[in-house]
Symmetry: C2
Subunit: 210 residues, 2 copies
């Protein structure tokens, strides 16, 4: 395994942290013991290719997220740090072919769950905000391209009432466009842009579903 040289947030240890699979409870308003969550995920991403077109692709797959020991036993004060340690999502469209999304091993994809400074009316009174900064690789064999982002994709989930926020919808915070580079010519101009990303966390998966 490559050691990431680019850290998008705080590292979280996986040493001695147990895997959590299907059947494990998700308890609302309760900071959980550390764990490696094995969860389903789906996403709808839009790619803009300059001069060619815009393509919206539905992805399905799974993630593995390691969670730190909460900073407090009390939900309202607890902060939990997270690292996205594995991801595989697959989608397809006619023009771009099959696309497989995995983590960029050069990057530590990292995030956290904490009480927001700006709670809004639609959120429960003790709801938390979840964020994760992700470095990904989009493998597009039909085009012979592997694309990578150089600004992390910021995935956010609001109104978080349990950890993990299984079943919750989320958004990639992309302002207008996020450049994607050919991993083999990363200092050249961007090949494509991610212009929208909406996702939903699934529930715990069984090991054989990963």
């Amino acid at each position: 395994m490559t050691t990431p040289t680019i850290k998008y947030g705080r590292p979280v240890t996986t040493d001695g942290v147990p895997n959590v699979y299907a059947g494990a409870p998700v308890v609302p308003w309760t900071p959980p013991e550390p764990g490696i969550d094995n969860l389903g995920i789906s996403s709808v991403d839009t790619f803009a290719v300059p001069g060619v077109g815009e393509y919206t692709v539905e992805f399905k797959g799974w993630v593995r997220v390691v969670r730190s020991t909460p900073t407090s036993d009390e939900w309202s004060n607890a902060e939990v740090y997270t690292n996205l340690i594995e991801m595989k999502m697959v989608g397809e469209c006619e023009e771009l072919g099959r696309i497989t999304v995995t983590l960029n091993p050069e990057c530590l994809s990292a995030g956290q769950i904490r009480t927001p400074f700006d709670p809004y009316a639609g959120e429960g009174p003790s709801a938390k905000a979840c964020r994760m900064a992700v470095g990904a690789i989009f493998d597009m064999p039909k085009l012979g391209l592997k694309l990578m982002n150089r600004e992390p994709i910021i995935l956010t989930i609001d109104d978080v009432r349990s950890i993990p926020p299984a079943g919750a919808p989320g958004k990639g915070q992309i302002y207008r466009m996020m450049p994607l580079y050919d991993i083999n010519a990363a200092d050249d101009e961007p090949i494509a842009y991610l212009t929208s990303l909406r996702f939903a966390m699934g529930g715990y998966l069984a090991p054989e579903q990963m």
Copy 2:
């Protein structure tokens, strides 16, 4: 000068690129020759310090931005890549003391100006979108702290009608909170969060104003 190990975008050469100072024209709808723009900047940033409070600070200072050769002579097709090569902004508030913001030399702060894929009604028909991903250091000597971001701060300017977009207002695309880490304990938990950032580009400065 440190060679950045973390590149937030495409590198732009400074070799043989002339400095541009006060007195230089800014011509609308015209892709300019490459240059290093020496520009004023002001910003209003809000910092949240968990358990302590939220502080809004006005900054003033300057930036140096190198621009690439445009990819086309025609405004509507032209793309220009940019690197923020130097920055100094100073602000102050009672609780945090004097704050000096400079670039993080570990990061290549990079961006681009191009026609957006999602033009909106308020923009001129040929307006461009400007974005820059920035790694910064916030030096707070009163608190004995230097804070850094690990997700780049995405500075954006819309409705760009000239390059550089001198005088234009912009925004830091921060969703709820962006963690800031103690540069001497960057793997520990965040010390503070940037919760809002609004800025305005100034015009060209004279060398003695830098």
